[in-house]
Symmetry: C2
DNA sequence: TTGTAGGCGTTATCAT
DNA sequence: ATGATAACGCCTACAA
């Protein structure tokens, strides 16, 4: 390549350049070290250098040693962008999460990060400012030619289809897309909700209230459906339902609204997640002086770390988030590498956490 | 470029190819759409296409329209890797955080993500499995030619120097590197600790104990130094200190150890962070039946969301993490774009949160 | 095992 | 405003 020649001809014709020589050239030409520079210093061809950085390539012991020494002397590291251009693999995966990164996404994130980095891949984080930014976000995802994506946010059918068109493997995390098959790892929220209601009903609760999650949240929808469905089956009245935003404050607000509208206290408040349950619980005990679980039961969903704190010991359904994150990484790596079946659906069940905030019947 | 010719000659010589034509070619040659394909469809040169995707380039209205239509028809998106090869900008920033992503890193992370994406940049996440993995991690950072890095983990002098050598701007987050100047945004932990001790001493506390953070944590070290330093100044005895791991459980353990070794209850336990304070508080109240703050005061550091929950209302020092994350993004963007001074040091002060877990004197 | 040479998809320079 | 053409840094047949 002609543009390389100056490097070789500007300097002495002897095959051995010193480290200083090359560093001087790099400085003069204001460029960063490349495999060519390493090649010159090591007295081999550029392709030899390339091979040394490819695991399992055929290089002689002595060449390898000389190249690695030269690379170290020059602080050389292969350029991932250049590599990806030709290999068509960026070793980058997109992780798309809603902007409101609640506590438990951070666990998922670090587990995903751990799993992917074990395979030499890294996470590019896409934090949605709001649901409506998905298209703008996806446009940026495409630019980076990520090898795959884990999506823990709402995706339209069309958006999912675009992943297929572009042949970017996706694994949905606790989501599904209406009317479309997709790889996904999910916790069965509806089943969890039904189990919770069953236990509560067995404990003698009759008048149910619910602090629901945001209407747009599929997880909230499923939990709500499970609660309503199971109550109907048991012949119990539909729950008085108010809407929250999955945070502590809205759990507190939710309780007030329920008391207002109910004109008193129900038997149990099933909260859409642990944070709201904790907010509800704190407000019930400290602001309303309500005995929980004596007079009122309060339950959550998720099984976040805080739920097991001594002050709360919350009765809840725990999602196996750690395993789920591991599974998501597993599946995505499988899809990227060609092994791994497409549209696989790994379902997990939440486990009942027998806390101290609800009066329960036998299991 | 010879390898492009087949595309142009394999098909009809007329300048207008249909979308189907090109999609067929793409399929046959098993490659993804490039700017060349868009150029052909739009009937312009490849460079024209390139210019259309560069904001502020000079393109005629009509060319622009045709190109954009063709791009949309073909689902074309510029390849960031190819672009970065020549522009030397990846639009990627590394964020390096310790593996134990405690609750509050997730806030920092989402704020950083928000700030960077506002500038068209994205975060590549590097989650350290352990401190000793820094070198391995950095090797991966270099490969991706990130435009800069935010580091919220321990960095040796040599490691920091490597950032300089490679001309990768770094902003340290709540860290500093011994004996070296670096851009950093920090909260003054020692000052915060001193302020806390001052208030506690004014409240009449004499016998201090401390549940310290991990010995390797610089934040823990500074807080400890502040506590010890201020106590000495006030002529009070050095605190009985036990070591925790910044989590809830170690706060509980810490209290037990203190009671054991102290042979009773001190006046106050200053905890290295809020999580430990909450663990300590819960254990004191519920396991030991100690009146807090009547008989024992408990304080934290950080001002995490949980600290203001009704059950706790923790007396603590709040770090302005949100502002700090914003500042870090700001500084890094400045360094990357050339504006922005090097080795700038933005210091923040923690603010006192007058909770209900400590008996205090006047401010 | 090693080197030569062409190509990955873009941007940038320079005429036109 | 537009189009050739040369990089950017690497990988990979292919030939030796």
């Amino acid at each position: 390549m002609t543009h390389r020649l100056p490097v070789m001809t500007n300097s002495t014709p002897t095959p051995s350049h010193t480290i200083a020589d090359i560093k001087a050239i790099l400085h003069r030409e204001a460029r960063r070290v490349t495999s060519y520079d390493v090649a010159i210093l090591a007295g081999v061809s550029q392709s030899a250098v390339s091979r040394c950085f490819k695991p399992g390539a055929s290089v002689s012991k002595s060449t390898y040693a000389r190249v690695m020494q030269a690379a170290q002397d020059l602080d050389y590291t292969p350029n991932a962008a250049a590599r990806s251009l030709i290999t068509r693999r960026s070793n980058l995966v997109a992780v798309i999460v809603p902007g409101a990164v609640s506590q438990h996404y951070s666990d998922v994130l670090s587990e995903l990060s751990r799993q992917f980095s074990l395979r030499g891949m890294h996470i590019v984080l896409f934090n949605l400012p709001s649901e409506s930014e998905m298209d703008r976000t996806l446009a940026e995802v495409w630019q980076h030619r990520v090898d795959g994506a884990v999506v823990a946010a709402r995706l339209s059918g069309e958006q999912l289809a675009e992943f297929e068109r572009r042949q970017v493997p996706v694994v949905l995390f606790n989501r599904s897309v209406a009317g479309r098959a997709a790889s996904a790892v999910v916790c069965n929220q509806e089943e969890a909700a039904r189990a919770m209601v069953t236990r509560l009903a067995a404990g003698g609760h009759k008048r149910f209230a619910m602090i629901d999650g945001p209407a747009q949240s599929p997880v909230a929808q499923q939990r709500k459906r499970g609660v309503a469905g199971r109550l109907a089956e048991l012949g119990l009245p539909a729950p008085l339902t108010v809407t929250g935003t999955f945070d502590y404050a809205s759990g507190a607000r939710g309780l007030r609204e329920i008391v207002d509208r109910f004109g008193g206290v129900p038997d149990v408040i099933v909260c859409g997640n642990d944070l709201m349950a904790i907010g509800c619980l704190d407000t019930a005990r400290h602001d309303f002086n309500i005995d929980v679980p004596g007079r009122l039961s309060v339950t959550g969903f998720d099984g976040i770390a805080e739920s097991s704190w001594i002050s709360y010991n919350l009765t809840t359904m725990r999602q196996p988030l750690h395993s789920m994150a591991q599974a998501a990484a597993d599946m995505l790596v499988g899809l990227v590498s060609g092994t791994g079946s497409t549209n696989e659906h790994r379902g997990y069940s939440a486990t009942f956490v027998d806390g101290a905030t609800a009066r329960l019947g036998p299991a």
